[in-house]
């Protein structure tokens, strides 16, 4: 199956600033692909390149096999987009906006049911300006859906949407993917990516730091150790011998067992403690959450960037003094 969106070695610069640096990813039809990263990571830049708003400085973008800039007109009928903010006439009414957008497309949805889908039926006569931030986002989503698009680009679709609205937006996005659309969304919220995406591309400083399903990403950081707390000064050599693995006291009363937390290993630890009548304070094991992966990965690139910067500053300082 060919990818609905294919980005290869994309580079986007704003003057001296490199917003996107040799980024490659694919997004498949029928899937939700999340571009996850902190603010300023380059997510919006790359999405705007996919939508045809800007050209790449290097690399290629193909959307449904087309060049978003050169084949723009051919693409618009099949593309739905939600900008990070705005994009709607401030004085237009909800119903008017949806009817107007539906008139643009050959394969348009029914305007009234679209307004109902995003939960704005009772706001249909309100103008954009009168809507809350969350309601504006939901109207933008409705407009993005109006042509039954094959590819949907959603830039921060749940930003400023309340909890109930988020549930609705997420279920709409899921059903768009189930219908067969390729959904590409950006988010800086892990929870969003974890709950919604089939495929997550973690971006930091314009470059991809990891990609995969939420499961794969967390498995790649699968913990092969577990920790427990008990009285300080236990005989870790004896415990290690009983388990057949290395056990160490990482800090007083805090023990690290260097084996995956299988039921057998956990049972052996508690049995060893029971024999000596020692209480177990706590036991921590299990998968890391995507959050841990994300923080670890983005922290690494930040450290690397900081190191690069310091070197450059040092060089510059050296030049200045000489």
């Amino acid at each position: 199956m060919t990818a609905a969106v294919e980005v290869r070695d994309a580079v986007i610069r704003y003057g001296a600033l490199v917003a996107v640096s040799e980024l490659s990813f694919r997004a498949e039809p029928g899937q939700v692909t999340a571009l996850l990263g902190p603010n300023g990571a380059g997510k919006t830049s790359i999405v705007e390149a996919c939508e045809g708003f800007r050209r790449l400085d290097a690399g290629t973008v193909r959307v449904l096999g087309l060049d978003p800039v050169a084949d723009h007109a051919a693409l618009t009928e099949r593309l739905g987009a939600m900008l990070q903010q705005g994009g709607v006439y401030p004085g237009i009414r909800v119903g008017e906006a949806v009817r107007l957008f539906c008139s643009y497309y050959d394969s348009a949805r029914d305007p009234d049911s679209l307004v109902e889908l995003v939960g704005l039926t009772d706001r249909a006569r309100s103008t954009w300006r009168q809507l809350s931030g969350g309601e504006q986002q939901r109207l933008s989503l409705a407009l993005a859906l109006s042509g039954r698009p094959d590819v949907l680009f959603l830039d921060e679709p749940t930003a400023s949407v309340d909890v109930a609205g988020r549930q609705r937006v997420r279920s709409i996005i899921r059903s768009e993917a189930e219908r067969g659309a390729c959904v590409v969304l950006t988010t800086h919220e892990l929870e969003e990516a974890e709950r919604l995406a089939d495929h997550v591309v973690i971006i930091d400083h314009g470059a991809m730091v990891a990609s995969g399903t939420p499961g794969e990403l967390t498995r790649s950081m699968q913990t092969d150790e577990f920790r427990f707390g008990a009285a300080p000064g236990l005989d870790v050599a004896s415990l290690g011998a009983a388990l057949g693995v290395i056990v160490s006291e990482s800090s007083p009363g805090e023990y690290l067992v260097s084996t995956p937390p299988t039921p057998g290993a956990v049972a052996a630890v508690t049995a060893w403690l029971a024999e000596r009548d020692l209480p177990l304070a706590d036991l921590r094991a299990g998968r890391k959450r995507l959050e841990d992966v994300y923080l670890a990965l983005t922290a690494e690139t930040s450290v690397a960037t900081a190191a690069r910067l310091t070197r450059r500053q040092r060089r510059r300082a050296g030049k200045g003094s000489s």
């Binding site: 009928e77 006439y89 004085g91 407009l143």
Partner: protein, 241 residues
Amino acid sequence: MSAALPNQFATEVRLTLRRGESLLLILGLPLLFLVFFSTVDVLPTGPGRSIDFLAPGILALAVMSASMVSLAISTGFERSYGVLKRLGVTPLGRPNLVVAKIGAVVAVELVQFAVLVPLAFLLGWDPQDPSWLGAVAGVVLGTTAFAGLGLILAGRLRAEVNLAAANGLYLVLLLISGMMFSLDELPGPARAVARLLPSSALADVLRGVLSTDATPARAWIVLAVWAVATPVVAARVFRWE
């Protein structure tokens, strides 16, 4: 898609007529000026009756309000709200959007004329040997020139600066363009500059074709030059986002 252009056009017209500030500009002020200054004869409108001088000038003012000020303000805000950007990724496309906007300006002008022309007649306007065809030609040229000016402002300036600039330009052109009083009242150098402005050219053209006075060729030339120049410049400098 076939319904897109008519729908876009109708939406643009509705949104224009719904905005209080644009209604004030395109109908409120011309109406007020027409009624007030034709009944209270305080303006130096020349030797003839003031309504015969004022009516064509107010029509020129109406054209300037709709095609320059109102278009500039709405387009400027749409640009800053990302409306133009968002419409760029729909099958409507930019050419259709521009056509819809021009159509909306013309529709608004028809509404203005439908109100202002009968009112002027009620107030005693008595055009001598009018060439309505000439008036239409003048309005077309004036609309083109002013719409180009409006889009230059809207396409380059920040929304708030654009708002101030469009209103400021409106006021300046209103004061020094012979729309409401004769240019002969201006000091010589100012008069020379004023004659080169599209606003005074349009007022002169309308006043000429709607009376027995000859229309100065200079006015037609000045208006035509503006009508060619401003759309060309607008197309070159306009930024969609």
